[in-house]
């Protein structure tokens, strides 16, 4: 149990570290083309080989991690930043028109296939990393709003919330002081899971050419570029694919582990 958490955290840390490191140093300049050395298999000079322009794949993956993490992080931020207050508000005014509007709005967003809408947004506003972030972020809002509403509603019936109401505290203050701290562990867990989904979504959008635009490297586009050369240069597809796989796996393991660690009920069950 604990092992999975540590493994997941280490995997995630490796990719986060690679992204941070890429600001300071990468083995090769990723904008410098080196056609003489194109499509090299892994070697001492290029540990993960080179692509069809002779760029170093390790460097591209490091810089690509930056894109993936930034997109996913901001998208989760949008989702939490808007979804959590909406969920808290819906729970505080449960059964009112406000709750109804928020809940039906959630249902509405959930009813659309998220990737298609993301494609639509980028098709209308032009493909870019920023538009990908907005598209992914919008679909994170109802996830957090629903999660928080459900958890907060059960907390609102607790006697300590009743006691706070007797002390004359208003809905905003109670939500901030009593509800939010008690749903924080759920948010951390859901946050890591949405983060991994965000990375997947970004890779998907980039794969169809609607994410970050060249020359900014992105894992998804690296996969797309390698598609035609997969029969004679499998390393070009393998390494970005592995990067996506391992990051998502790491984040999911970390999310699961954190849930077990932060949920007192599960913690007790394990003892």
């Amino acid at each position: 149990m604990r092992g999975a958490l540590i493994f997941g955290a280490c995997l995630s840390a490796v990719f986060a570290g690679a992204a941070v490191l890429s600001f300071l140093w990468v083995p090769y300049d990723i904008e410098a083309l080196d056609i003489a050395n194109k499509i090299q298999p892994p070697s001492a000079a290029h540990p993960l080989g080179t692509d069809h322009f002779g760029r170093d794949i390790l460097s591209m993956i490091m810089v690509g991690a930056r894109t993936s993490i930034a997109v996913a992080l901001v998208a989760v931020g949008i989702g939490m930043g808007l979804g959590v207050p909406l969920g808290l508000a819906a729970a505080a005014r449960r059964g009112s028109w406000l709750d109804e509007v928020i809940s039906r709005g959630n249902d509405l967003i959930f009813a659309f296939p998220s990737l298609l809408i993301a494609i639509m947004i980028t098709a209308v506003f032009g493909p870019s990393a920023v538009n990908a972030i907005i598209a992914i972020g919008i679909f994170n809002i109802p996830v957090f709003a629903r999660l928080v509403r459900g958890a907060a509603m059960s907390l609102w019936t607790r006697e300590y919330v009743l006691a706070a109401r007797v002390a004359g505290k208003g809905a905003v203050r109670i939500s901030w002081e009593h509800i939010l701290p008690n749903v924080a562990n759920l948010l951390i867990v859901q946050g890591t899971i949405q983060f991994s989904l965000g990375i997947l979504a970004e890779a998907g959008l980039s794969y169809v050419g609607l994410g970050a635009q060249p020359p900014v490297p992105s894992w998804g586009r690296m996969l797309a570029d390698s598609q035609t050369m997969i029969s004679f240069a499998p390393h070009m597809a393998l390494f970005p694919g592995l990067a996506i796989l391992l990051t998502v796996l790491g984040l999911n393991l970390m999310g699961d582990g954190l849930r077990d660690l932060l949920d007192p009920r599960l913690r007790r069950a394990r003892q």
Binding site: E159, L162, A163, A167, G168
Partner: protein, 524 residues
């Protein structure tokens, strides 16, 4: 030789010793009451007999059931014993039944597991068992689901499951704790009748001496995993047993200087809830939880409000506290209305506070005690800050018998009784005049309950507090209040001086309630 013999039973779970040298016996046709406070090991003794212990548990000593050694049995043999020879009834009728299965299926399951019979035969046996627990087929067909039944009826289904195969031993673990007092009386009568009819042995586990005293042939008193004493109720002599008996009928000493002037006036209060609409176009129905209730609470008095679950007493509490607006009538504290123009009146709110039932649920687990206790300061416009605030918290904690340093601890570091003291400290900190005690002692063990009642009486005398004491527990209300209101279906059906109401109840419902209260025989 008795039906069930427990000799020198010891139980360890991990490194913790749960039971030590537990010895007692249950004979056929005999009712043995097992009494103890929480953590005394009474439920673990029952689970040892069933061998349904948690992982990592190891038993020593001997348990024999009709001469056979239970501890030596293999799991397969135990499966044949459980349900067939030993039946068990659990505390919580809400969770002991599977909500997705009909009651007939659930009772028939016991039969199908243990006997090679067809489904039709099993169902007819289930019908018979349900009829024996007074759920006749014409009114409670086998196809009913648990959610269609009341708590007491569900508990009867639980009993039917336990007795379907006419076991020789029935273990009932707090079978009536979750039930109202009148339902409790019916279920206890039913258990007694079944014991007589079948000649079963009954091991009746309870924290409530009153429940067991009137019914059991013998009583086993447990404490901290040991048997303190065993004997007839009237013949108990161990100091701990006597302390328990005293605590369960404890009358705190009060000076009781109730004035005549009303502090809280409740007039013709009506509180309605909308029920779900019938179909898409149907109108929502209306449920009147509180229906024209009027009463006064006089300054300095202890007023009791009794009634069974669903009678509207919690709704009334919330209305008095200004948490929910009423649809009709007025509530005034010292002449000032609780609600002014759809907004709660802060001037009134700061003069009353509340203590809730659940010592575990009434505190935010993520705040320290100092912050929790200081919460009502929010009501004051000139709330003390800094050192003055700390001093006020310290004073409140000390006035309920805790230490000033406790302000720096988290709530999970305290026991149930201590938490209830902290809840009282929280209520006291803004020096209210009226404190509403909403089942404030119902979840506590009898000895702790007695201490809290003494504390409340002392505080009332010292600070001139007025209490509205809301409870389903009539014996406690009788011991601590000056006047009492009886509530049924949203109405006050009777009110008057406590002794007057208890000795000469006028309303039929009051009489029924009082008759249902399990009493300790006075000879003890």
């Amino acid at each position: 030789m008795s039906l069930l013999e427990i000799e020198g039973l010891g139980l360890r779970i991990g490194n913790v010793t749960v039971l030590e040298e537990v010895t007692f016996a249950v004979g056929a046709g005999e009712i043995v009451g097992v009494i103890g406070e929480s953590g005394s090991g009474k439920s673990m003794t029952a689970l040892s007999v069933m061998q349904l212990l948690p992982q990592g548990a190891s038993c020593t000593g001997r348990i024999t059931l009709a001469g056979r050694d239970v501890l030596a049995m293999k799991e397969r043999t135990l499966c044949r014993v459980r349900g067939k020879e030993v039946g068990m009834v659990f505390q919580e009728p809400m969770t002991a039944l599977n909500p997705l299965q009909t009651i007939g299926d659930q009772v028939a399951e016991t039969v199908l597991i243990h006997e090679r019979v067809g489904r039709a035969e099993a169902m007819s046996r289930a019908a018979e068992a349900l009829a024996r627990v007074e759920l006749p087929q014409d009114r409670f067909p086998l196809g009913r689901y648990p959610h269609e039944l009341s708590g007491g009826q569900r508990q009867r289904v639980g009993i039917a499951m336990a007795i379907a195969l006419r076991p020789s031993l029935l273990i009932a673990d707090e079978p009536t704790t979750a039930l109202d007092v009148t339902t409790q009386a019916e279920v206890l009568r039913l258990l007694k009748r079944l014991v007589q009819e079948d000649g079963m042995g009954l091991m009746l586990i309870s924290h409530d001496l009153g429940v067991v005293a009137g019914m059991a042939d013998r009583i086993v008193i447990m404490r901290q995993g040991r048997v303190m004493e065993e004997g007839r109720f009237g013949a108990l002599s161990h100091p701990y047993s006597l302390k328990l008996v005293e605590a369960s009928d404890h009358v705190p000493e009060r000076e009781g200087q109730a004035g005549e002037a009303p502090l809280l006036e409740v007039r013709d209060v009506v509180r309605e809830y909308a029920t779900p609409r019938q179909g898409w176009l149907g109108k929502p129905g209306v449920f009147r939880a509180v229906d024209g209730v009027s009463f006064d609470v006089r300054r300095g008095e202890n007023l009791g409000l009794v009634g069974e679950s669903g009678c509207g007493k919690s709704t009334l509490t919330r209305a008095i506290l200004g948490l929910e607006e009423v649809q009709g009538g007025t509530i005034r504290l010292d002449g000032q209305p609780v609600f002014v123009g759809h907004r709660p009146n802060r001037d009134v709110r700061r003069r009353m506070q509340v203590v809730f039932q659940d010592p575990y649920g009434s505190f935010n687990p993520r705040h320290k005690v100092g912050r929790l206790v200081a919460e009502p300061f929010h009501l004051l416009d000139d709330a003390p800050t800094g050192e003055a605030r700390e001093a006020a918290v310290a004073e409140a904690l000390e006035s309920v018998g805790l230490k000033a340093e406790d302000a720096g601890k988290y709530i999970h570091e305290f026991s149930g009784g201590q938490r209830q003291r902290i809840a009282i400290a929280r209520a006291l900190i803004i020096r209210p005049e009226l404190i509403i005690l909403d089942e404030a002692v119902s979840a506590l063990d009898v000895q702790v309950r007695a201490q809290i009642l003494d504390l409340l009486a002392g505080l009332s005398d010292r600070l001139g507090l007025t209490y509205l004491f809301i409870s389903h527990d009539l014996s406690v209300v009788r011991n601590v209040t000056d006047r009492v209101l009886v509530m049924q279906d949203g109405r006050i059906v009777e009110q008057g001086g406590t002794e007057e109401v208890f000795t000469r109840p006028r309303h039929a419902y009051t009489r029924q309630l009082i008759a249902a209260v399990p009493k300790l025989p006075r000879s003890a």
